[in-house]
């Protein structure tokens, strides 16, 4: 790892990870709709074809299921495929190959062959993405034996974890929240990887444990800043990997704080956050000082109209309120202090739509 750090975006970090990994290993191939087009999947696949040639980097037919099976087959014969989809929703076409082939191959053939494929899925939100361009179905993947599921937040983690995902001998689902692509952060140059399955403490505190993932970490950090001013300190754990989950980090934190709030970017019922509440309630029961809490998306398809998504997402203010409620304090000013940004349906000024 080089020490020379620079501020780059999450999207550029993804791009660097692919460049570095393809340079390091000739067997890595990269394909998906739009991978070689002028928009380069939000710039994440920029210059790959130029650098590594059109045999290793290519566009594909709109055939999500077969192209996943093709990744499986290619991986069985020596390649390391990285496939990209511009929305998770499109990948629902490929559940047969992901679940019946990729996730089980190693187990069901007696550990003789492994399936080192990585599937990048982009999670939509806001700006009229609507019901079928906004689904955050990580809970499905986290339920499946044989899959690893990665959901980074920072550019640095994104780069290191994408490298690790590509080189991992197992099928990895790598989830990129669209609202993170333009977030900037310090990222080491050159090739490096970060361990899959390790959560990260992004803030230390003693009052409440906040377990979070992906874009929710951004909101959590806003919330924690506000809470600090109130004298409340939170232990914030960014999961990074949601299968396998780093339970030790969570349990150790809860054993100190005695309080847990789990955040999720997906539908509430059956969410990964729910699994976290369940495990903490079972494994840390005696440490809990108050009822555990969860904040996730409403159990509704995401509507398209901006009027309908107002107040629809979990925001810093909701997190603050949930934390304050656990501590039995007054939260009447929170919504005033932390109003929903206007416009509420974009991650920042950089986002000009439509995707």
């Amino acid at each position: 790892m080089q020490s020379n750090n620079r501020e780059i975006t999450f999207a550029t970090a993804i791009n660097e990870a692919i460049h570095e990994t393809m340079a390091a290993n000739d067997n890595v191939i990269c394909y998906g709709l739009g991978v070689t087009d002028p928009k380069a999947v939000f710039d994440t696949t920029k210059n790959l074809e130029q650098k590594f040639g059109s045999e290793r980097v290519f566009d594909m037919p709109t055939s999500e299921n077969a192209m996943t099976g093709i990744a499986v087959g290619a991986s069985l014969n020596g390649l390391i495929p990285l496939m990209t989809h511009q929305r998770l929703d499109f990948f629902l076409l490929a559940m047969d190959q992901l679940i019946n082939s990729a996730s089980k191959w190693h187990y069901m053939f007696g550990s003789q062959q492994s399936v080192p494929i990585t599937i990048r899925l982009i999670l939509g939100r806001g700006w009229g993405q609507g019901p079928t361009h906004s689904q955050n179905l990580q809970a499905w993947f986290a339920h499946m034996p044989g899959l690893k599921v990665v959901m980074p937040t920072t550019p640095e983690d994104a780069k290191g974890l994408l490298t690790a995902s590509i080189l991992d001998p197992n099928p990895v689902v790598f989830l990129e929240h669209r609202w993170l692509h333009n977030v900037k952060g310090f990222v080491p140059e050159g090739f490096y990887s970060k361990p899959i399955g390790k959560a990260k403490k992004v803030k230390s505190g003693i009052d409440v444990t906040i377990v979070t993932m992906s874009y929710m970490t951004i909101e959590a950090l806003h919330a924690v800043e506000y809470l600090e001013k109130m004298g409340i300190s939170c232990d914030v754990i960014d999961l990074l990997t949601i299968r396998p989950i780093d339970w030790d980090s969570i349990f150790n934190s809860v054993k100190v704080t005695g309080r847990i709030l789990a955040l999720d970017t997906g539908f509430t019922t059956g969410s990964v956050a729910g699994e976290i509440i369940a495990r903490v309630s079972m494994d840390c029961f005696d440490f809990l000082k108050c009822k555990p809490s969860r904040l996730a998306m409403p159990d509704m398809p995401e509507p398209t109209s901006p009027a309908l998504t107002k107040g629809f997402y979990v925001r810093a203010s909701d997190i603050v309120i949930a934390v304050i409620q656990m501590l039995g304090k007054d939260f009447s000013m929170v919504k005033n202090d932390l109003p929903e940004p206007i416009p509420h349906d974009i991650p920042g000024d950089w986002f000009k739509g439509p995707f």
Binding site: T62, A66, G128, Q129, P131, H133, L308, K310, P354
Partner: protein, 322 residues
């Protein structure tokens, strides 16, 4: 009669074009906050279909659905309001540009997932056959959609059951920025495969409204004569970017020359010039048509803008039908 048809085709194409152009003008203001796929350059097929079938016949479409909705006779105000996310929208703001519906004219819906509405359209026809309603189901899709497995599965079932389905493939050479040759074998025609699958097949210049009309008309007749499901491949071209309202010939996935060639082949100018030349229509008439459409469009946009947004609480209603 023929004159009337020509005029109707021209008018309907102009209506589609002018609506899309108005959307393109207004879109940059950021009030239509949803992904929007325009059909400028592709007006002939939706217009021809709309004039060929009755409102009891059904249509299903895709992400690029405005033109099909208007062609089938969908309510303009409701469509524009939907794109603006208003409660008066055809989907009450829940769906946006990619989820248009007007059941009153048989426009049964659109899907934002490539290939997804094809089997749904076949299902409509299955019900039509079993319930003996004599409706035809018309399924619009692009060249890219024929790469999805569900397309083949749908075609196979339609042929096995001899369902009243008209498959309308608008081949505009691109799927997003991907040209055909990275997705389908060079030299293989979509219609050839369709024919081998067992569909009755035609191929036609999708920028020629009259030819498109004739092709659809005869396909509809074949369906009504129990000759089984039919397929038409229309060659056409979108002028603007895939999603959004700008020209994008500069970004490098297609050439300016290609675009100009297709622009010359504009379905609207071609028909208009022909009718003018043959004196079947006058400049004055055209101006009248334009004025009328402009008025409608103004009304529709005013309606949309003035309509109220849905109550926030509406977001939490409608998970289930009761």
């Amino acid at each position: 009669m023929v004159t009337d048809l020509n005029l109707e085709l021209l008018t309907l194409m102009m209506r589609i074009r002018m609506v899309e152009e108005e959307i393109a003008r207004e879109y940059p203001k950021g009030e239509m906050r949803c992904p929007t796929h325009l059909s400028i350059g592709q007006e002939a097929v939706p217009a021809a279909l709309g004039l060929c079938v009755s409102i009891k016949d059904m249509a299903m479409s895709t992400h690029r659905g405005h033109a099909h909705y208007i062609g089938k006779g969908g309510n303009l105000k409701s469509m524009i309001a939907e794109i603006y996310g208003k409660s008066t929208g055809c989907s009450k703001g829940k769906g946006g540009s990619m989820h248009l519906i007007d059941n009153s004219v048989g426009f049964m819906g659109t899907s934002a997932i490539v290939g997804n509405s094809i089997p749904v359209g076949v299902g409509l026809a299955l019900a039509s056959k079993i319930r003996k309603t004599e409706q035809i189901s018309c399924i619009f899709f692009g060249d890219g959609a024929t790469e999805e497995g569900s397309y083949y599965e749908s075609v196979n079932f339609a042929v096995v059951k001899k369902l009243p389905v008209l498959f309308l493939c608008e081949n505009n050479l691109y799927s997003v920025y991907s040209p055909l040759n990275v997705r389908q074998p060079e030299g293989r025609k979509i219609s050839t495969v369709a024919k081998a699958m067992g569909l009755g097949v035609d191929e036609v210049d999708g920028n020629n409204a009259i030819e498109s009309f004739k092709s659809i008309e005869s396909a509809v007749q074949r369906i009504q004569n129990n000759q089984g499901p039919q397929f038409i491949e229309f060659s056409t071209y979108r002028w603007l970017e895939h999603c959004g309202v700008n020209y994008d010939n500069d970004i490098g996935y297609r050439t300016e020359e290609e675009y100009l060639r297709w622009k010359k082949n504009d379905p609207i100018s071609k028909l208009k010039d022909k009718l003018l030349q043959e004196k079947l229509i006058s400049e004055v008439q055209i101006k009248e048509i334009i004025a009328k459409i402009e008025f409608e469009i103004k009304e529709a946009f005013a309606f949309a803008k003035e309509s109220s947004f849905p109550e926030n609480s509406e977001a939490y209603i409608g998970e289930y039908a009761i």
